[in-house]
Symmetry: C2
Subunit: 406 residues, 2 copies
């Protein structure tokens, strides 16, 4: 369902410079959370030709070789030589990390853990729509699939001339009932090695990425395809474009279909409501839609720094609600504790699950069991197993449905 | 008008770390645009304890002492000594700026200027509502006024213990007709010198900032005020929190009341549609509402990199339109040329107006004549006079009204 008759969303691959930065920030967070559940982490990253800067505020008892970690994230993505413009093994790594301000810490820490204050003020939204089985809007859903497929075709060797940096964009048409019915335009730009011709690139990308991902019945005679429209994309990654953490917040969420409070996710531990309350918002909205209480649901929450209770909770069902918005708010208040400590506990967020979220979207992905491995200070391998993407569970839907009397 | 019965927005002062970064990025852009109208600028900034990093892609024939410029922006904001935690005169300034990728440039540059390709793909929104005389939503309007007043009280010496870093947040209640009717909660955190007691701070902030700005008739017995809720905010600026360009994109726009495409503004010249098309979107939406064609209007545009024509243009009037959305789109197509070159020309964007936009919002501010001064390479003062905030003009409203037959 959409109020728009056409709507466009974009995504970027894991090799996009802003996404490199997000993945580094979240790799730092994961490494610290694995070793210290009380770590307070706010890690920002900047990547540009020949350099990666990590900065922010971290208070922890853990020790991690951050330089090594940064290099590993970059090389794992595929930036491994000056041939592709950027090399994780040889780039400069600059560390400007300080500690969390004691003035902030005293506002957040409380004697009773459930009173833990929000790590910052701010507003966050959660959203869900019944328009796809993942409860995500179609444009962002397909935009992600395109760049995910680009990475797959690159890593599997299917298209060996692909390089890590890529962007996608999909324009959907919605019918009079607000249902997605056709794709009017597709943009896909992918970095490539100099050897491949534009014709070969276009043909292969159309066949093995675009048509592989987009259902034929959504395409039509007038669908416009812009494949590498600049005509050349050899220079890419941090050489072509400086990357920063938190600069793909619409790609990370609902592709613009829902509102956004402005807070970034990557590099932030769950005491930061920018992240945890946005995850909780998705959990609430998805359970409401999964329960059949609305076809679309957007929830806004807001916080004051140092205060546990939200300063506001509001809901919008775009006229699709089966019960009144007041009733919905009541159901939310009864079934979801939106204080920061409670969110973290109910969703079990204090696990190193964050690098997994740092590319291809934080929402619309199936929860799964994940095992994180790390080496402790004695050189022993340690493991931690948990559910990744726990905010995607619909375990409250039945209760909500029953309480709503549906 | 709002679909929400309560809605919260936030703002931050010019001393907030992310805003320091935005102002530096835009000061760099202005300095280059004044000297070279063909400059291609993408300037990102990171500020953290003792350091400012500028990075990005710049192609220009102009020469500017960037180190000096960065220092001046920081000291002008008020970070002038290690006493306040950060000192523009002595911090490190790191420059990691490269040139625009020739692969991108060849896609953007065209023989005929009007064919100039978009500097990137992406989606952008414009928004306007008749709920305030500025055509801005009430929550963000008042959130900006609070932090603007904080800066005024600091700079005028009215409250000499105020320091540059501050954040505000306002929760509005909307009545059944979607009109803003009351303020339910206010959060204001301001950095301060260690001398002032929390009681004195609270009292002065309430009287000289909160009550000075917020109309008494909007406050009520149960309005909650959270003034410096952490209890202490001496450490502030880049010491308390790393700042990055483009990390306050919701503060910069509509406070979350409208959708967002995700692109940042600061540091980007008008060939980047993230900025120019979002400005054009505001211009379109504001003229539609000013013409009385709708009470609220949100427009989405999208682009493919290297292509001049938008890949999509879509409109949403939330059921408040006086004419159909199809008719509105037709009027938009007839009256607004949304190709990048045309936007820049019609709005006259190639002037050093950007640092003015980098704090307290890019929208909802009256256009005004501004004179920018700079020293050329011969040591002579040069000036450039232009209209700042040209996208706020309502000069198309009458035509739109007439063409709609209203
Ligand atoms: C176009 S760049 C942003 C503009 C850039 N900062 C500048 O100053 O020109 C944004 C993204 O586009 C992609 N990109 C880079 N070079 C490209 C090219 N030659 N053709 C198409 N897309 C490209 C990369 O994913 C990059 O991160
Ligand atoms: C709370 S900080 C973000 C969290 C931070 N990165 C950390 O790791 O704790 C966000 C903003 O809050 C404001 N702030 C900083 N210290 C504060 C304090 N002691 N009380 C209230 N607000 C504060 C500043 O404007 C700062 O930029």
């Amino acid at each position: 369902m959409s109020e728009y008759s056409i709507f466009t969303s974009e995504s970027v691959s894991e090799g996009h410079p802003d996404k490199i930065a997000d993945q580094i920030s979240d790799a730092v967070l994961d490494a610290l959370l694995a070793r210290d559940k009380n770590a307070r982490v706010a890690c920002e990253t900047l990547v540009k030709t020949g350099i990666a800067v990590i900065a922010g505020e971290i208070s922890t008892s853990a020790w991690v070789d951050l330089e090594d970690l940064v290099r590993k994230v970059i090389t794992d993505i595929g930036y491994t030589s000056s041939d592709v413009g950027y090399d994780g093994e040889t780039c400069g790594v600059l560390n400007v990390i300080g500690k969390q301000s004691v003035d902030i810490a005293q506002g957040v820490d409380r004697v009773k853990p459930e009173d833990q204050g929000a790590g910052d003020q701010g507003l966050m939204f959660g959203y869900a729509t019944d328009e796809t089985p993942t409860f995500m809007p179609s444009p962002i859903y397909y935009a992600h699939r395109l760049v995910e497929r680009q990475a797959e075709a690159r890593k599997s060797g299917l298209l060996p001339w692909l390089r890590p940096d890529a962007k996608s964009q999909v324009t959907f048409r919605y019918d009079e009932d607000g249902k997605p019915c056709a794709i009017d335009a597709v943009v896909l730009s992918t970095q490539h090695s100099p050897e491949v011709s534009q014709e070969d690139l276009r043909e292969a990308v159309m066949e093995l990425i675009v048509h592989h991902v987009l259902p034929a019945e959504l395409l039509h005679a007038n669908t416009k395809f812009h494949i590498n429209p600049t005509g050349k994309f050899v220079i890419g990654g941090p050489v072509g474009d400086c990357g920063l953490t938190g600069r793909k917040i619409i790609v990370d969420t609902y592709g613009g279909s829902a509102r956004h409070g402005g807070g970034a996710f990557s590099g932030k531990d769950p005491s930061k409501v920018d992240r945890s309350a946005a995850y909780a918002g998705r959990y609430v909205a998805k359970n409401i839609v999964a329960a059949g209480l609305a076809k679309r649901c957007e929830i806004q929450v807001s916080y004051a720094i140092g205060v546990a209770e939200p300063t506001s909770v509001a809901i919008n069902t775009f006229g699709t609600g089966k019960v009144s918005d007041e009733k919905l708010i009541e159901l939310v208040r009864e079934n979801f504790d939106l204080r920061p400590y409670a969110i973290s506990k109910v969703l079990d967020l204090l696990h190193p699950m964050y690098q997994l979220t740092a590319a291809y979207g934080h929402f619309g992905r199936e929860p799964f069991e994940h095992t994180y491995k790390w080496i402790d200070s004695n050189g022993h391998e340690q493991t931690e197993t948990f559910t990744a993407f726990p905010w995607e569970k619909t375990d409250k839907a039945e209760t909500l449905r029953a309480q709503a009397g549906l």
